[in-house]
Amino acid sequence: MSTTRVAAPADVAGAARRGPAPASRRGVPAHGRLTPWLFLAPYLLLFGVFVLAPVVLGGWISLHRWDYTLPGKPFVGLENYTDLFSGSATADTFWRSMRATAIFTVFSVPLLLVVPLAVALVMNKKFPGRNLFRAVYFAPYVLGVAVVAVLWRYLLDTNIGLINYGLGLVGLPDTTAWTTSLPAAWVALVGVTVWWTLGYNAVIYLAALQDVPAELYEAARVDGANSWQQFVHVTLPGLRPVLAFVTMITIIASANMFGQSYLITRGAPGRETRTAIYQIAETGLRNYQMGSAAAMSYVLTGFLMVLSVAVFWLLRERKAR
């Protein structure tokens, strides 16, 4: 299940600093004591049932051997967790899938941070056709992962695919099994993901670039800074809050990669490209080992939280300097 993207930590921090509206200055709109809760009620109902309750329920499930199609759901304490940290079959498949997620994240995130920034820089100027190009780069994102994956599975076909054919035309090896061999499958998955979501990040960068005050560039030029120096000393610092935001959403998106692997490689070769979330879904919703799957999702969440804090801290630290 993909919920809406997260906001940048910097934004949240900013919002907290700004605090609630300084409404008291001129008097708050009159309302009864119950009114705010009536306004909040529909949201809180959904929030309680589908966000708060599941977080707690997930923890509860993870303490049981929970197959919802069976009458018995024995309490097993931390067994589902200790299983993940022992030499059991479950541990083996789980850590393999965590490794797959890590590989994908490590290779896709830098590309998804740098390439869209380069594209945004090239486009950061008014010129005819700019909006058209922007739309073209953004278009694959609108199609969604299913269309993208079905399309690329065809293009990446070892024998009749356009990619291998094209590679052959320019004299490169043309028999790569993009969907069934390593490391080719990772190259394919990362490549398709960059193609699919490049436009999304580029558009965010582009908007942020336009918010960098022109005066700063002028001042830098007066000081004799060249293009590269302007980029390092004006553009990058100006982008920092957005960079933090883009880094966070990209890491979370990459760590939650599912559709590409489910549709393009089907986890092949073997289980090598089966990601953690894929494994969790299969364990919980195909084999109905929901306790084990819930424990896995808590462990994955733990990793992601630590990672988020690390990214947050890294990007803040430099800002403070």
Binding site: A15, R18, V136, F138, L143, L285, A294
Partner: protein, 297 residues
């Protein structure tokens, strides 16, 4: 190349170009266009190939070397895919539409109400509620999958569109985003309405919402897009062929027709053309919505 005519000193939202010799700037413009066009080709050609393949025969689509133009041109793939009882593509399309619109409507309605209370009303517990909502922005969705499956099951919503509409509708992002927007609205307008004796609901409905149309539209489009493209959840909570959403349905289509690339591409085209048309008309709003999601409301 009118771009070169822009005075280098021009201020405003564009990054100013350093003053340089005109010849060099023309050179840069050419390089820029070459880069952009090459990149655009990389983005467009797979989509073009998808559309062209959907008009090929089965043998042509699986032939080697792959050809761009269909010979002969045929709509066979569309006919057989629309006739196949196990893969009702049009029905999937309708399901996706209902789900995405329903989800977007609930997100906008519930987030706007909650955000307004959090932005403008003072009450005990506001800090806690807001803090709790913001905290969930940092919870990866994976943690919700298993328990929400059980909750949806208990509600009797498995294999119903409600399962793909409602659970994702509690949008912390929506509340955060709209609250920031509401805070930016000058309070005087609401104050004036209040002095006229308007109730909080009336102020919200008549004053705040009309002023917030762009923000509401942005949130609606973002939710629409997210829901439309959601893949993992529908794959597991919808069972019946006629109840699939498009992404989940395409997955069935792929496993049922592993090497029938003509059919698969026809299915992919049916799934994408309406979104692409919508995108062409609304692209400014969608793109600006996305770009603004990275900025402060």
């Amino acid at each position: 190349m009118t771009a070169t005519a822009v005075p280098p000193t021009r201020r405003g939202s564009t990054a100013p170009t350093p003053a340089r010799a005109p010849g060099r700037r023309t050179g840069r413009t050419v390089v820029r266009y070459v880069l952009l066009v090459v990149l655009a080709l990389v983005f467009v050609s797979p989509l073009l190939f998808m559309v062209l393949t959907s008009f090929k025969t089965r043998a042509d689509a699986a032939g080697f070397p792959p050809s761009w133009l269909p010979t002969p041109f045929t709509t066979q793939a569309y006919e057989s895919i629309l006739a196949a009882p196990g893969t009702p593509v049009l029905r999937w399309f309708a399901n996706s539409l209902v789900a995405a619109l329903g989800n977007a409507a609930i997100v906008v309605a519930t987030s706007a109400l909650a955000a307004y209370a959090l932005a403008r009303m003072r009450f005990r517990g506001r800090g806690i509620v807001f803090g709790l909502i913001i905290a969930t922005l940092f919870i990866p969705p994976v943690i919700l999958i298993i328990p929400n499956y059980l909750i949806v099951g208990e509600l009797g919503w498995l294999n119903t569109l409600a399962a793909v509409i409602v659970p994702t509708a509690a949008s912390a992002f929506g509340v955060f985003f709209l609250r920031q927007f509401f805070l930016s609205i000058p309070e005087e307008l609401e104050e004036a309405a209040r002095l006229d004796g308007a109730s909080p609901w009336r102020i919200f409905w008549r004053v705040v919402l009309p002023l917030s149309r762009p923000a509401l539209a942005t949130l609606a489009l973002l939710s629409l897009l997210t829901n439309w493209n959601d893949f993992l959840w529908p794959v597991y909570v919808l069972f019946s062929p006629e109840l699939q959403t498009l992404p989940a349905g395409l997955s069935t289509l792929q496993s049922a027709n592993a090497v029938r690339y003509d059919l698969l591409m026809a299915g992919a085209v049916i799934a994408s053309v309406p979104v692409l048309i919508l995108f062409v008309f609304l692209q400014r709003f969608i793109i600006e919505g996305v770009s603004r999601s990275g900025l402060k409301g």
